[in-house]
Each structure stands twice: as C-alpha cells, then as structure tokens.
Amino acid sequence: MEDSTKTLLEVNHLSFRYESELVLDDINMNINQGDFVGLVGPNGSGKSTLVRVLLGLHKHYQGEVRWFGTPVRQFHQWPKIGYVSQKANRFNAGFPVTVYEVVAMGLYGKKGLLRFLNRKDKQRIHEALEQVDMLGYKKKNMGRLSGGQQQRVFIARALVSDPEVLILDEPTVGVDAASAQAFYERLSHWNREKGITLILVTHDVGAMTKYVTKVACLNQQLHFHGTTREFEESDLAGAYGHDVHIIHHEHDHHAGGA
C-alpha cells in the first residue's frame, strides 16, 4: 500500500456518441489510488455519460477504459467500485423495503449467486450504516425517509462492499449548503483515513475545491485535468466556477419559487 501512484483507472482516447451526437471527445485521464477527484462541468457536458461508460453501462464507446489494468468490457470485479447514481433516490417510494434491506443489496454482487449473507456480512451492513450516521434508521421504511437520508443510505450501500473507489454523481443536489459541507468533510475524512479513492461528479465547483485533490473539467472534451492548486491558478477556475455558479443559482431560484 506504500505505492501511492498505483493507477486505478486509465482512460485513453475515449469518445462516445449518443445517436449521432458526439458527447465525449477524445478523453484522456488517469486516476490513482488515493485521489479525490472532482469531475466538474456544466449541465449537459457529458459528466454522467462519462461515468456510465466507466461503469460499463454504455458499451459502444471508442478508445480504451481500464480499471485496475483490465479493459472495462472484461472487468468483473465490480464490487471494488462503489457507485451512487444521480437518480438513486428517484426510486419507487412505495417499494416496501427497509434501510437495512437496501444496504444489504450492496453486498449481493460481491457474494455471487446462490450464496446468502452471513453474520459477518450483517456486521458489515451495520458498520456501513454507522459510517453515514444512519444506523438508528435501519428498520425504517426507505420510502418514508427524506431525500437527504435516502442519499446517505445509498452511500452506505456503495460503501458496504468495501470498495476501493467510490463514484458519486451529483450527491449534493437538493442538499442545503451546510449539509453539503459536512458531507464533503466526511468524504475527505474517508479519503484520508481509509485511503478510499473518490470521484465526485458535480457542477458545484466553488464548494468542492476546498476538499478535492484533483480536478477534471469536462465539457465534451477534457479541458483540464490536474491538481486542485493548478486548477485554482488556471483561468479555467473562473470560467467553470462562473458558469457553474449561474446554473447553481438558477437551481436555488427555481426551488425557492416552487
């Protein structure tokens, strides 16, 4: 574990078309063990598409994507990668399922077919719930939690399989600024103390740069990929920060007016 430059993810000349529209154009990036990467870009810049390609959900891409050295099409160790989707809490609220049952799902892929959860797995589910301060809610019905609480349960589900990488797509949408900050603090803590590699997809540049160690700016092409310090010194910070802030305020305004 001393080798801090171990590359977890390699992306080489990745392009992706949706129908005939070019969504991702010649993306090149590496993510190393222990990185806390902020993947930023305005709405519609292809952030979620990139994440979906990385997760093997879009298979018709050009170029090369490797996880732990294995091309994504042949990659099978998915439990090493935790993922919290942007639309995770748009699930059917009437689904009769408890917080505990949802977090348990995070272990199903790792267990494999025809295997059941044992006592150690159950212990692990408790730990994951503890990590997101939701242990007290384990018997509650998922549909009756607030959006922020559901989000945390989904993060626990991603953490429960002890992933080496955690990918979070817009986790702070609809979360107030103070909660978002506390959330970033917690991510930073996991990154530093547990060595978990984090990829945070967001359009909220301002709040995030305080915590991430690397920034990748995406708008169809990758406009910047480097350390946070380099990012802040570049003129892109202004451009992206500005662009993004307008969008952010529009969201606030919309929410306030509704």
Partner: protein
C-alpha cells in the same frame, strides 16, 4: 369435510392451496417490477397453446391423451423469453413489449380456435377455470412446478430483489441482469400457466397481482410482503373453493372477487387510519466525525 371424499375435490383443493402460495409470491415481484400486465400476457399465450393443442389433437389422436395445459405451459415459457428479448431490444419503449406479444398471441390463439372448429366446452373451461377438470396427475405436475419455483425464488431472492429495486445499480454491482430476468420470466410463465386450471385464462392475473397489490399497502419490509401476499392469496383460494362447492359459483371468479375485497378493505382501512404513510422524519445531521 364430506367433500374431501371425492378425489377430484381433494386434488382441486391441493392444487388451489399450492397455487395460492406460488402465484402471490410471483406476484410480489411482478408488482414491484411494475409489470403487472405480464401475467395477463402470459395467460393469454397459454390459451394460444391450448387452442393449438386442441387443433393438433383433431389430427393426431394420441395428443388427446395429454392435458392441453402442458402445451400452454410450453407456449408461455417460450413467449416469456420473447418478451424479455423485446424489452432489451427496444429499451426506449420497453413497456410495449408486453402488449405487442399479448395482442399477437391472442390473435394467433383465435386463429387456432377457428381451425379447431370454434369454441367448445373445453375451451370455455380454460377461459374461466374449472376445478372439476383436475386429476391426480395435474396435482403432481403442479406440485413439482410449485416446489421448483419456490426453490428458485429462494435461491435467487437477493438478485430478484435488487433487480426489482434498481436494475441499473444491480448491473453496476455485477449482478447478471439478463440471465436473472430470463429466469424470472421463465418461472412466472410456468406459474401462470399452472394456475389456469383453477382460475382460468382471464382470471390468473387476479391471484398474481391483487394479493401482492394488497400486501404492498401493509408490508414494511420486503420479506413481510411475501407473507401478506400468501395469506391474502390463500384466503381467496379457500373462499373460491368453498363458494364453488357449496353455492356452485365459479372458483376463479370468487377468488378474484375475494382478492379485490381484501385489497379494498386494506385501502379503506388505510384511509381511516390516515397517518400510515407519514411525513419524513426530520433531517438527521452529519455528525462532526471528520474532526475527531
């Protein structure tokens, strides 16, 4: 229990009780996957198979020894894979796969019926179900189907739950989505076709969807939803059985009506109780663990 002296009634009761378990269990998944029409599509496909069998049997005499239901089971089994294929192939309009298959199957079925010289008494029984037509062999076949189905539901419980809850996330976590979907479609097809003997083609979906829909209202955990669905399903089956024996009412019809009544009572009770689906709890805060 005088009626249990009659063999066919004993078999009918045994089959009914077995179907009363497996149909609602399959129904739980059908309902939470939001594909309630699939039971109807499959049962109508079974009718196509039955009509095909009756038509073929008019040429091949040896076929009349077989229960046409088995040909129905074969047809639903094949069609379940077709529905899954269409669902995958046309993802943007995957909800169309069921009506497309259902309409085509009914069309083909009606063609077979006309080829087999129109509607006869046999077909009428299959449409509405009749407990008078079952025998020991049916009880054995349906018993085996029920046992195998329950075992498969148990063995693939965690995959089926994850897929129903969030198919995309299940794929990311390495669950073999396509294979599990096919397995589920196959099991459901066989259960649907087996239920036709007592429920009839038109009413199979009642015992699949209604008990599960009622269970959805009262269950707080996913596991408990199965328990409720089976209790509601068996209540309906027993009511149907006795109504059929003592009052000469249709078993399938009574099962559907009782299932509907259970669902109605629960929805009304919920209204009266009012507060069941409460507001969210107040937001919990992230504790300041990072600074410890």
């Amino acid at each position: 229990m005088i009626f249990l002296e009659f063999d066919f009634l004993r078999y009918a009761l045994i089959i009914g009780l077995m179907i009363g378990v497996v149909a609602p269990v399959a129904g739980v998944f059908v309902v939470v996957r939001k594909t309630p029409m699939i039971a109807d599509a499959m049962s109508h496909t079974a009718l196509t198979g039955i009509a095909f069998h009756l038509w073929l049997a008019s040429y091949l005499v040896w076929l009349s020894e077989w229960n046409p239901l088995y040909t129905g089971i074969l047809f639903t089994f094949i069609v379940s894979f077709l529905i899954e294929y269409l669902r995958r192939r046309f993802q943007a309009f995957q909800e169309l796969s069921i009506p497309v298959v259902m309409a085509s199957a009914i069309g083909l079925g009606v063609v077979f019926i006309s080829l087999a010289d129109g509607f006869n008494n046999d077909l009428f029984n299959y449409l509405f179900g009749s407990i008078l037509t079952v025998n020991a062999a049916d009880a054995v076949v349906i018993g085996i189907i029920s046992a195998v189905s329950l075992l498969l539901f148990l063995l693939f419980y965690k995959e089926l739950l994850f897929l129903a809850f969030d198919e995309e996330q299940a794929a990311v976590n390495g669950i073999p989505v396509q294979r599990v979907n096919l397995l589920f479609a196959g099991i459901t097809a066989v259960i649907v076709a087996s239920s036709i003997s007592i429920l009839g083609v038109l009413l199979v979906s009642a015992l699949i969807t209604l008990p599960a829909a009622a269970a959805l209202r009262v269950a707080s955990t996913f596991k408990s939803m199965f328990l409720y669905a089976v209790v509601f399903g068996e209540t309906a089956v027993l009511a149907g059985f006795f109504a059929s024996y003592y009052y000469d009412l249709s078993s399938g019809g009574t099962i559907a009506v009782v299932s509907f009544l259970i669902w109605t009572i629960i929805v009304l009770a919920e209204k009266v109780a009012g507060q069941r689906r409460q507001r969210p709890w107040k937001e919990a805060k992230w504790t300041d663990k990072a600074n410890q």
